[in-house]
Symmetry: C2
Subunit: 180 residues, 2 copies
């Protein structure tokens, strides 16, 4: 995977994809599936909503880091299955044949099958809403995939895959953030 | 537009669409475009990130309410143009030929051209991140459109429209929230 400008972090979160969140608790890599994420600002801060029902949640708070990875459309069934079991019982990287790659700023792994991975450090946890505020330290992208379409969860067990693209850069040029 | 179960609120936010946020300041309807939104829980709480640079932001805090509407793909250019001008100078409902319809629980208008609208009351404003926590009071959907695909902002002036759908309800049945 190849490092790119940190400004691109936003372009992987803002479209609203399902993401895989990887962690390392000191002994074992783990991964969970979530789709409650949001961009916060143009300084590469993002937020995810989760809570104590997720085994990964405890690891994120204990280690103060994680990696947010964007799976391509052909990983949909794996992405759902990752979300159906707990890392308490299963070694999910092994079970789902995910490839852990070393990150630079965190001990949690990149996932080699994903479109992009964001290495993140925890900024703050806002308990009453389950918000974990994350700062993206590094963005890496995969340049070897045949499939780059993102997956969007509807929330009722159905999903939508990226379709047509539209370019309105010219119309929006005054409003585009620096570096994009 | 037709009222549906509140549980469906999630299904309009979780896929990560660009949304139009309508407000009424006591004198004039207004609307802004944002794509930084997130589901919080299964009790129909959601969050949007915005700030004082948006004219609508002041109205949301002053009135403690707004309507979040999901525009269909054929409104893309309008959605971008709504985001390029301020309600300080322009009557955006008139300028962009949007149809304001009466909501039930808030004074901000529904937008007749949208796929769905969520009538929202402000729960809390978390200033340091620009988070406005909203509770969805009512969900209405449009049953008369020819286009229901959502728009996703990449954040760099390009957009992706909903494509293929996939149904994994059977695989996920243990994890689906009640009512969906």
């Amino acid at each position: 995977m190849k490092e790119v400008e940190k400004e691109r972090a936003l372009t992987f979160i803002e479209p609203g994809p399902v993401v895989l969140v990887s962690t390392f608790d000191g002994k074992k890599n783990n991964v969970m599936t979530i789709s409650w994420t949001m961009a916060i600002d143009f300084a590469q801060n993002i937020v995810i909503t989760t809570g104590s029902w997720n085994y990964s949640f405890g690891t994120i708070l204990a280690t103060q880091e994680c990696v947010i990875c964007i799976p391509p459309a052909n990983m949909l069934e794996t992405v759902v299955r990752v979300g159906m079991v707990s890392g308490r019982e299963v070694d999910k990287f092994k079970e789902f044949k995910l490839t852990p790659l070393s990150a630079k700023y965190v001990k949690a792994p990149l996932i080699g099958e994903c479109v992009a991975c964001l290495e993140c450090k925890v900024v703050e946890y806002i308990e009453r809403y389950g918000f974990i505020i994350l700062h993206v330290e590094r963005v890496v992208v995969n340049e070897t995939l045949k499939e780059y379409r993102m997956i969007h969860a509807v929330g009722d067990g159905t999903f939508v895959i990226d379709g047509e693209k539209a370019n309105l850069r010219e119309l929006m040029k005054e409003k585009l953030p620096p570096g994009l």
